[in-house]
Symmetry: C2
Subunit: 199 residues, 2 copies
């Protein structure tokens, strides 16, 4: 089965529609998707940015919010502009790594994106995280402890390093088994098509 | 008839496929397109950039060249990476303004994009420009003189200012009659659809 890595940061605006769209599109295309949360912060920092480029470049930021709003309306996805932006995504990324090693990771990712960009919740709040994972029949205390454990912290650092090594500079990004990189929610369909042809 | 402004810089990579795609798509959609060349340079400069962000951020640049190559293959457009990049686009933009006030402007724009990104020609060379406008039955010397005249210089400055005032921060950009801004070759279809619905 063709494979595609889906790289995203929970704070990334266009990762929201991508995360919500990818599973059904991949199923239709017959592609196995691997969710790979990482942190854009260190990658941005290496480029000399201390926050999102959407904050650094106001005209681009204004456009992005309007574009995302239009896009969500088109996809029938709820949309609320998160405050603050970007949200610290460290905790959610670590929890996702715990869940992805079990069987509730992808569902958690979708729930976290919906909470942040659909309902305006703060995903850096452990109470929000506990509420989001409650339906998965796991113990919130244990998951949060596991998320802050050294192996998970190290894993997220390694994943972020791996993203950077593969040339990833933004999110969402998609990487096929033969190493083709596609950047942006609007490249999802092309990435899936490439995964099928290239495999 | 619904209208759409197509804002582009001749040095802009993704403006190449947009310029080659827009006329047939707009004809099918029943939208009247206005070609509006402008200069990204002053807009980038206002953001603190002294060259293209694709040069300033190498990972993004590497991705863009590969993405553009894939895109051109998909569209069956010839592709050669221009050297140097970005090309000074001032002369081509001024010549386009001369042509757009007559009846050969759009054809010249397409020819200039093809020359630069398809054949590797330098569009800042007046010999290239003279060759490109030769098929239009105009006098190259007169056109080049007109392009360097004060009214055309002023007009390009005004257009660049108008782009910035409308919130444009990159190219290609599309603006509908009701002021909706769409950025990027991959937003062309949505911009046309909005132009039709919004009018």
């Amino acid at each position: 089965m063709p494979a595609l890595d889906f790289w995203f940061d929970f704070a990334s605006t266009y990762s929201y529609p991508a995360a919500l769209r990818i599973a059904p599109l991949a199923a239709t295309a017959g592609v196995a998707v691997r969710f790979r949360p990482f942190l854009l912060g260190p990658i941005f920092k290496a480029q000399g940015w201390n926050t999102s480029p959407f904050n650094l470049y106001p005209a681009k930021g204004r456009y992005m919010w309007r574009d995302l709003e239009r896009l969500c309306a088109e996809l029938d996805l709820p949309f609320r502009r998160p405050q603050p932006f970007p949200q610290p995504s460290l905790l959610a990324a670590r929890v996702a790594l715990v869940g992805l090693a079990e069987d509730w990771g992808e569902e958690f990712c979708r729930a976290a994106f919906r909470a942040q960009f659909g309902a305006g919740d703060r995903i850096d709040d452990s109470a929000t995280i506990a509420r989001l994972i409650a339906p998965f029949g796991v113990d919130p205390g244990e998951v949060l402890a596991s998320a802050q454990s050294e192996p998970i912290k190290a894993r997220l650092r390694e994943e972020t390093q791996a993203a950077q090594t593969q040339g990833i500079f933004g999110a969402p990004s998609f990487v096929t088994a033969d190493g083709e990189l596609f950047w942006g929610n609007d490249r999802l369909e092309r990435a899936l098509a490439w995964a099928v042809r290239g495999s």
